[in-house]
């Protein structure tokens, strides 16, 4: 067991693969309230989990806010309505 600590957090995570996947599910809002409890504990106790969580959170934010939205061609809605009119 690696019980070295940084402040109160351990520096090595015993199972990053499992923990990180769990953290991602929590960030995606899939774990509900129990997820929040698990998260609090992990962030308080495990440095790799703490860092992974903040990295994942940053990535989600930039994806949501900075990924350029493609401008929708103005004629698209009209052209759909016209095509639809033909098949009705």
């Amino acid at each position: 067991m690696n019980e070295e600590t940084s402040g109160s957090r351990k520096l090595r995570c015993d199972d990053t693969s499992k923990c990180f996947e769990l953290l991602e599910s929590i960030l995606d809002g899939e774990m509900g309230d129990p997820g929040k409890e698990v998260l609090k504990e992990k962030l308080a106790k495990c440095q790799p989990c703490f860092e992974h969580f903040h990295l994942e959170q940053a990535i989600r934010e930039v994806l949501k806010n900075k990924c350029t939205k493609q401008e929708v061609p103005k004629e698209l809605a009209q052209s759909i309505r016209e095509k639809l009119h033909d098949v009705k």
């Binding site: 599910s25 990295l55 994806l63």
Partner: protein
């Protein structure tokens, strides 16, 4: 989500569903289509075909259920069946290679310390977009659905016709691949990473 025609809507009802529940999603649909095809004309055709199909199969849509997920599922299937065939991008083959590779537990992303949240926050929209666009289509798709469109795992499972467990693990792998790309950008742009080249 079922294909069974369980309704028989009147013409007035059909129009009201189409205008009230389908058309409001046109922006998200076009953005999804564009991120799949990378081409404005293909994206337009894909969205148009999707809406025409949605109208044709409107009786299998249950009013009041999630129209956006229903439409995304049709769009995704149209893309696979028609557009992927003619598009130049590599299809299934390299995705499977990648998925098998990343299925192995020990190939997990090792980089919590060499990609920093701060570097990611400093990146430009174009860098993020390019990193996302460079992922194989199945990985790109789960990230678009989850992070850009805000679908739940359950909705994604229905849109993609895969079990929820597969959604979760595919997302995890997609995010690992995305982080590798972002790490590449961070190093290239001279952002602060702890790894020495």
């Amino acid at each position: 989500m079922s294909e069974v025609q369980r309704r028989k809507y009147s013409q007035v009802e059909k129009n009201s569903i189409f205008d009230g529940e389908f058309m409001p999603h046109i922006d998200s649909m076009y953005n999804f289509a564009y991120r799949l095809t990378f081409d404005e004309d293909d994206a337009k055709d894909l969205v148009q075909d999707t809406y025409l199909k949605a109208y044709r199969f409107i009786n299998s849509f249950e009013q009041g259920t999630n129209a956006k997920a229903w439409l995304f599922r049709i769009l995704k299937n149209s893309f696979i069946n028609e557009y992927r065939k003619k598009s130049k991008q590599p299809a299934k083959v390299d995705y499977q290679e990648v998925e098998t590779y990343y299925n192995s537990d020990d190939v997990d992303f090792q980089g919590t310390t060499d990609l920093r949240a701060e570097s990611v926050k400093d990146m430009l929209g174009d860098e993020i977009s390019n990193a996302l666009n460079s992922l194989a289509v199945d990985f790109r798709t789960v990230i678009i659905l989850c992070d850009l469109e805000g679908f739940t795992y359950e909705e994604m499972a229905k849109i993609l016709d895969i079990p929820i467990g597969t959604v979760r693990s595919r997302l995890h792998r997609a995010r690992n691949l995305l982080k590798e790309k972002l790490k590449g950008y961070a190093q290239h742009m001279g952002y602060d990473t702890e790894e020495e080249e």
